[in-house]
């Protein structure tokens, strides 16, 4: 009996969270932008994303330890319509000659600008096996591995 109630409660919370998330996404004016070069500047992001409308704010993703750009950012528009245009048209275009990805985001909150990988950057860079000159070279794990040898 107790076990049954506990499971039911958990499911209810999950559903409620999902509904809230969907509502936030459907009203959002913020996009997450990924696969950026570490060298891409805010000004370049603005140049590209302004083509879709008036940009309110750009927050660059930062390596938690080195405090340098680490390949992602958030772009917030004043209006939902402009954000929709950016989502429809800028996804998979080139920025600094790299194909970037855009996705809806529930909205920037403090702390989300930092990379969450163990070495300070993004998670995805912990496990890359390729050499990406725009993202610091080899993945940090592979670099460390080679160093050990």
């Amino acid at each position: 009996m107790n076990s049954g109630r506990s499971r039911k409660q958990l499911k209810y919370r999950d559903n409620r969270f999902q509904v809230k998330y969907d509502r936030l996404i459907s009203n959002s004016t913020t996009l997450y932008v990924g696969n950026m070069s570490f060298c891409t500047t805010e000004d370049q992001v603005l140049q590209l994303f302004s083509m879709a409308g008036h940009v309110k704010r750009i927050i660059m993703g930062i390596d938690r330890i080195k405090k340098t750009s680490c390949g992602f950012c958030f772009v917030e528009y004043y209006s939902r319509r402009d954000a929709e245009n950016a989502y429809n048209y800028i996804n998979r275009t080139n920025l600094d000659e790299r194909i970037i990805r855009t996705d809806w985001d529930v909205g920037f909150s403090k702390g989300r600008q930092y990379g969450r990988g163990r070495h300070g950057g993004q998670m995805r860079d912990e496990y890359r096996s390729d050499f990406d000159p725009g993202r610091g070279g080899f993945s940090v794990n592979m670099g460390q591995h080679i160093g050990i040898h």
């Binding site: 805010e42 603005l46 083509m51 409308g53 704010r57 750009i58 660059m60 800028i90 600094d96």
Partner: protein, 694 residues
């Protein structure tokens, strides 16, 4: 899916054959939907339904009498309405419907069709179709292709169709395969259809010009011929492709696939037509149907979808556009620069740059030199200085502005450092609260009566303050903007109600970032949003002597138009809020709050006031500046210059792209600014504007 019109009309015909009452209900519903679209001013939807409804005559679902009766309803409006724009709209409805029904009508009731045609001819002959054309042509030159007014071109295409006995070779007439069956159908009569009255409050579609860029000699041999530009087949193909693009505008990749798979009868260079259409939409005046970025992305996706044909045609088109810059509308040149820089940034800036080195010998601000300079500046914004230097031939490198570098004139080597600058710098660096800066800027007892040190002017203080914020925030845009936001109260107190101080602020901004056009635009935007600098001051600044060397550059006009755009957006936001509170569609939960309504109404009025002030200020400056220039030119006997071409073009651009907002004040503009005593060359665009909006 209007570009599959004949598939569905044949389907309806066959269904009507099987079930008469279905046919009747379908037609009644279609008629009802048509009236609904007309009332709601969904013009393109109404046009499509009109064409589809009338096309049912080919499948014996409606009678020929009914078909021509519908068309006569539009003709009736043409013969009775006083507004030219309404008459032209109805004329468009008729002309765009005739190609699909002409053959059937000429078989069934030739005399009545001929009589109808004569009535249309009379209207076309008396229609005013030239006075506004200059505002909306992409190119003003008639060579090599005249940019015709849309309805005049369509009329010529209809005439060609009639000469060919109303036989087109475009439509796939599926119903002909079932003609014996369908001839047994019982056709429906359409009840009396009257175009719904109520045009007074309506918003009408803009008049258009037809974009023409290619001719047969541009297309490779053996790939078929472009249909003649005055053939009905050309019109119908273009219309279908435009409908297809419109349907897929949220997904450029899918749109490109659909365009690539598009089938049309006959051998013809479809990629040339497709690209001409896309450029035509992108360059359409007053505004493209969708945002410019969509067309940029669509062209990229087409290059990927047809890698062996489209990129070559895009390059050819670009070269043609480049060669014809001399007569290109300034608004379209801006779009060309923006599109091509974006395009290059997606293809590693690969271009046959050496082909364009000859423009270096041209006069400053001549069309091609100006274009290349603006293009390189834009490419640098998408990328960085060293990268663009790397891809350019030596002859073009000097056209690229230097890498952006901040210039602090208050601590420049060789000059006495400004004490005020040093104090402010230290205070800002120490993260002092904004109000702690006020004693530095306004020391106690500061007055000439006291016989103290030299009194520094407010203008000087404004200059120092903004320059220090920009210097300290130079590393990133966010730093700059956060410092401006943090110290906005200080700036506001310095320059409030002081035009000269506000102008000093803007001049100092440009001096501090002498070649960083994008940053200047961002900071002006921020100062405007923070309400530190009002819109009319931005106009004054742009036309000031200090901005003489920047006046013809694209970024300056982007600042002007972007500022007005923010006023328009603000109006739309407030309108939507007011509608949500008071409109018929408001949700039941929201009871009308008189205080809220009043506040919103006051906000709207203030917003309209700001728009009006902007419009009058800008036109006033245009008139003064152009008048002075023409006076000088006339006295010295010089020909009008590139300077004139650009500035005059900017005034026309404002008339065209902001025509809806300007229309509210058109009468007063004629009484106050565009008066009879002005040079006719300056009044002319105002008259074009009146004709365009009438």
């Amino acid at each position: 899916m209007p570009y599959k019109m004949t598939v569905f009309s044949a389907l309806v015909g066959l269904m009507n054959l099987k079930n008469y009452s279905f046919g009747n209900e379908f037609i009644v519903h279609l008629l009802s939907t048509l009236c609904d679209c007309l009332k709601k001013t969904h013009w393109e939807d109404a046009q499509i339904i009109t064409i589809f409804l009338c096309s049912l005559v080919n499948c014996h679902s409606i009678t020929s009498e009914s078909c021509i009766s519908i068309l006569k309803s539009y003709l009736s409006v043409i013969e009775h309405d006083s507004k030219a724009i309404v008459r032209d709209l109805c004329f468009s409805f008729i002309l765009r419907t005739l190609p699909i029904v002409g053959e059937q009508l000429s078989n069934d009731m030739p005399d009545e069709l001929e009589s109808f045609y004569r009535a249309l001819e009379r209207y076309e002959n008396l229609r005013d179709r030239e006075n506004y054309l200059r505002l909306i042509q992409v190119w003003t030159s008639d060579k090599p292709h005249r940019q015709e007014e849309f309805l005049s071109c369509l009329w010529l295409q209809i005439k060609a169709l009639r000469t060919n006995e109303w036989n087109d070779s475009y439509y796939m007439r599926y119903e002909k395969s079932h003609s014996i069956l369908l001839s047994n159908s019982i056709a429906h009569s359409v009840g009396d259809f009257a175009v719904p009255i109520g045009f007074d409050m309506a918003e009408f579609p803009f008049r258009m010009s037809v974009f023409r860029m290619f001719d047969t000699s541009d297309c490779p041999e053996g790939k078929g011929l472009l249909p003649d530009k005055h053939s009905i087949e050309r019109f119908l193909l273009e219309q279908d492709l435009i409908w297809l693009i419109d349907k897929n505008y949220t997904d450029p990749k899918k749109c490109a696939v659909e365009l690539s798979n598009y089938y049309c009868r006959g051998n013809m260079p479809l990629s040339y037509i497709t690209l001409e259409i896309i450029f035509g939409l992108m360059f359409r005046l007053p505004k493209p149907p969708k945002i410019e970025l969509f067309y940029g992305c669509l062209l990229i996706e087409l290059c990927k979808a047809q890698v062996y044909t489209v990129p070559q045609v895009v390059a050819q088109a670009t070269e043609i556009l480049f060669q014809r810059l001399g007569s290109m509308n300034i608004a379209c040149i801006d779009r060309f620069v923006n599109w091509f820089a974006f395009h290059l940034s997606n293809f590693r800036y690969c271009w046959t740059w050496p082909d364009w080195t000859s423009c270096c010998d041209q006069e400053p601000y001549s069309p091609q030199l100006s274009f290349v300079t603006e293009l390189l500046s834009r490419c640098q914004s998408f990328s960085y200085h060293e990268r663009i230097i790397e891809i350019l031939p030596d002859e073009l490198k000097h056209l690229l502005p230097p890498a952006p570098k901040v210039f602090d004139k208050f601590s420049f080597e060789g000059t006495v450092p400004s004490e005020l600058a040093l104090e402010l710098q230290e205070a800002i660096k120490a993260r002092k609260e904004p109000e702690k800066l006020l004693p530095i800027l306004f020391p106690e007892g500061e007055s000439s009566e006291n016989g103290g040190g030299p009194v520094e002017s407010t203008e000087y203080k404004a200059e120092v303050m903004i320059s220090q914020l920009l210097v300290l925030g130079q590393r990133t845009m966010s730093q700059t903007l956060s410092l401006l936001t943090r110290f906005a109260p200080v700036l506001d107190q310095l320059v409030k109600n002081n035009e000269n101080a506000q102008l000093s602020l803007l001049n100092a901004l440009r001096e501090t970032w002498p070649t960083f056009e994008q940053r200047i635009g961002v900071v002006v935007d921020k100062l405007f949003r923070l309400e530190i600098v009002p819109a009319p001051i931005i106009i004054k600044w742009v036309f000031s002597r200090e901005m003489k060397n920047e006046f013809l550059k694209q970024y300056v006009w982007e600042i002007i138009f972007s500022t007005f755009d923010k006023l328009c957006i603000n109006y739309r936001v407030l309108s939507d809020k007011l509608e949500a509170v008071t409109g018929e569609n408001r949700s039941p939960e929201r009871s009308e709050d008189p205080a809220e309504v009043l506040a919103l109404q006051e906000g709207l009025d203030a917003c309209l006031g700001s728009q009006k002030a902007f419009i009058f200020t800008l036109f006033q400056h245009f008139i003064i500046t152009l008048s002075e220039h023409l006076l000088t030119v006339d006295e010295s006997g010089d020909r009008v210059s590139d300077w004139y071409r650009i500035v005059f073009g900017r005034m026309c651009q404002f008339f065209t792209t902001q025509c809806i907002e300007i229309q509210r004040h058109s009468k007063e503009l004629g009484e106050v600014l565009f008066t009879g005593d002005l040079d006719p060359r300056i009044i002319e665009p105002y008259r074009w504007f009146l004709a365009f909006m009438n």
